[in-house]
Each structure stands twice: as structure tokens, then as C-alpha cells.
Symmetry: C3
Subunit: 181 residues, 3 copies
């Protein structure tokens, strides 16, 4: 028995150590896996992904008002809230945000807000007719922070559209937790 | 021997349990790892990533016709098909899609189609000259579903360009499997 | 003792094998984990993520000149260099790049450059006023390759803006290591 037990233990320890550290001769006893896995598996076991769109066009949106994307293509974890356009970060981490604004009355800019502070901004042009503008920013966000897209302008128009009627076009707001921290 | 075997077994079980569950005192015997790992490692072991671009400009594209991006920057797994512009999902999961359309004859919209049904739409402006418009949507797609970008308009123009000649500009279509489900 | 040791060894081997291969009855001894994990954990243990923005507008940018995004929203690993606008890939892998250019004097195109070679290009329109244009490309990049966004045009204008003053708008350049290869 002794020989087989040691052989199997050696193999198990080798495989596990290789997997966790990428090296041979890992000292498993000295491995703090709970620290190691933070930010690795968490994001995968509890994915945080949302992709929302504006279903109805909205006019006369005032300065500093949140753009509400009332529908979602997907909302894993339900951390984006369609009733007010706010995403609440469930964990501290690195998030990628992308938003597309279709507009058509005057130019303005949009701000990616985190708990009331602008963290990125984008320009929404008005070349004399309807235009579309997209932006992406990857930022760190703390657990429970509120994240939204806000207008910097006055009395602005943001297009929405249903998905079933293809002729319509949608303003969107998406977010992905890339990694916990 | 006994003492050493138990010590090493304890360590191995602790490390593996910590890694898989994020907790101490995991009961390995009760762990259904095959279920746990679904959606975790699969997407990483068999990545599904494509990024395609239009090489040649195309005019007179009719309503409901698929935009064909004839070349790829990358096509891991070869699930995007350059011959018809269609991506066939190899697994059920959450996919991020991004597309950029450069156009210049009239405005229209594009639809992200899944098996014939529009799942998202975007506006392609015409401010009197060439313009560029990008969109992103994250959606769930079933295994074997066909995904493509389609025109809602009539007789539309979509620009393409080779990569080697820098002055040209490219319409693109990219997709990433974020997670299996 | 014998029975307990074998029971625990069996369980540990089963769980580890299931996790690594997704199958029961894995032969751990035959598993080359160091090869298996390449491209899996590496990208997660050492994330490579940057998201940079232009803080100050710049005019008169010449043909083939790199656009310098002087600030970062985030720069995990510090592989993007604010002093010259260049990202140096720390590992060979698949990277997603996204860039948004706000401009307003004439139309031009931008090129995603890798070690001096254009790998993707995008159009930046000029509809008679300020406009914004975004693009994404996913490409394979070799370790130590230099990646940047370059202008194809002459005497071009690229907008920047501070984050604290929301009325300003930002040109951006972001990159994510999706997977090592």
C-alpha cells in the first residue's frame, strides 16, 4: 500500500500545484489559495454582465439627468436597474462600460458617472440630423457604487427603439465585470 | 508513514477545496465539479473569438441583406464564416457583439440578427458625407444559432478597406463568448 | 487507516480531474497541466488591461504620427505608456483594442499599428463640425510588440478633455488581454 499511496499523493500534489502556480515543485502547504483566487474565479462564478437599451425615445432631457435605458438584452445578476438607469456594482473590481447614444437635436456630451463623480465623458455630435456616438471606458469601481450615464447639455433628445421593429435604432449602455479586486 | 500521508492529504484537500469554493473546510466528497465548472473553464479552454472586417466596399445592398465582412483579424475556433458573414454559435452562452459600419450614401439602420430575429439595432447616419457608427450588444445565444448583421434600408453603401493600405477604412464585426450557460 | 486514505485519495483525484478536464476517470498522471493552463490562468493572474484618454486637445497632428492619450482611467500592469501613447504587449496573446476619436477639422483615418504595421483602420468623419468615431479590433499580438493608434491624414485635430469637467469630451484608447497564446 505504502508505495501506491505515495505515488498517488505525489501525482495529485504535482497536478494541483502546477495548475495553481504554473510551476513544478510547488509547496502546497505554503499556498494561500483564498488570496490567490480572489479576482480569478469570483468573477466567473458570479458573472456581472448587463447590456441595456433605450426602448422609447425621450426629448427634453435636462442637464445632469440620468439617461434611462428601460430594457435589457441581458442582466446577469440583476445589478442594472431598468427603473432608474443605475448599475450598482456588487463587488469592487475592474469594469468595462460601453455606451452608444443616438441623438438628433443639438450636440452635447455624456458622462460616465460613479457615485456622482464623472469618470469619463463622450461627445454626442449633431451634424444637422440624427447621429450616433459610442464610447468605452474601463475603470475601477467600488462595491455598492452607483454607475450611470448622464447628460451634460440641456433639453437633449435621445433615441430609443424596440428590438422587434428593425427600423428603429437603440441607444445602449453595457457593462462587464472584468475582474474583482 | 501514517502521519505524513494524513498531513499531505489534509493539505491537498484544503488547497483544492479553497480553490474551488473559496472557503475553508470544503467537503470535497459532496462537490459536483462537473456542474461547477460549466461556464467557467469551457469558455477558456475553447475560446470563441472573432473579429472580421470588410475588405471591399459594397454598394446597392438591399433591405434585409446580410453584410458580409470577408476577412478576419482573428477567428478562434473558426465559427465566423467569411463566405456569408454568419457566425454560428458553437455553444449556448453569453456573447458580446460589436460592429462598426462606415457608410456614405443615405442613412439606414443595422440589425444584429439571431436565427432570423432582430435582437438589437443601430443607426448609421448620413450627415451628407461618409460617416461611421458603432454599436455593442451583449446577448444570450443558443448553440448552433446563426448570428449576423443585416441592413434595414435599401440600396445602401458599406465601406471596406484593406489593412495594408492605411488610408482605407474598415467596417467591422466582432464577437466574444463571455461565458457558457 | 488504509480504507480512509484510499477514500480520500479517490475523492481528491476525482474532484481535481473533473475540474481540469471536465470528465470523470481522469488519469492525473498523464496530465500535462503546465501546457493545459497556458492561456487560462495566466491572463487572470496577471491581468493586462488599460484604458487611456486624451486630456488635452491637440491640433496639427501630422501623417503617421501616434496619437498620445496622456492619461489613463486604468492601467493594470502598466504596459500602456502615457508618455508616448504606446502599449507594449507583455505576453503573446489575443488582445481586444477599442478606440474613440473626437475630431473636428477634416476627415481622416486612424490605424491600429503593431510594430509599425497597420493591422486595422477606422474612419474619422468630418460632417462640417465636431464628430466622434469608434472602432474595435481583436488581434493577436506578440510579446514585446508595440501597439499604438496613428493618424493617416495631415494636420489633424484630436479632442481631449479632463474628466472632472464634464462638458469636455475625451478621445480614448483601451486594450484587454483576452487570452494568452
Amino acid at each position: 500500500m505504502e508505495q501506491e499511496v505515495y505515488r498517488r499523493l505525489n501525482t495529485t500534489e504535482r497536478v494541483l500545484g502546477q495548475y495553481l502556480t504554473g510551476r513544478n515543485n510547488t509547496n502546497l502547504a505554503g499556498l494561500d489559495v483564498l488570496a490567490l483566487r480572489t479576482g480569478i474565479l469570483d468573477a466567473q462564478l458570479k458573472p456581472v454582465i448587463f447590456s441595456a437599451y433605450k426602448q422609447s425615445s425621450e426629448s427634453g432631457i435636462s442637464n445632469h439627468v440620468t439617461i434611462r435605458f428601460e430594457r435589457t438584452y441581458i442582466n446577469l445578476g440583476n445589478h442594472y436597474h431598468t427603473e432608474n438607469g443605475i448599475f450598482i456594482a456588487p463587488v469592487t473590481g475592474v469594469y468595462m462600460f460601453h455606451w452608444t447614444i443616438v441623438s438628433g437635436s443639438s450636440d452635447f456630451s455624456t458622462q460616465l458617472m460613479v457615485d456622482g463623480t464623472p469618470r469619463a465623458s463622450a461627445y454626442v455630435p449633431y451634424p444637422g440630423g440624427v447621429d450616433s456616438s459610442s464610447a468605452m471606458a474601463i475603470i475601477e469601481v467600488n462595491k455598492d457604487d452607483h454607475v450611470w450615464i448622464q447628460i451634460y447639455g440641456s433639453s437633449e433628445y435621445v433615441y430609443g427603439g424596440s428590438t422587434s421593429i428593425g427600423s428603429y435604432y437603440q441607444s445602449t449602455f453595457s457593462g462587464i465585470l472584468l475582474q474583482t479586486s
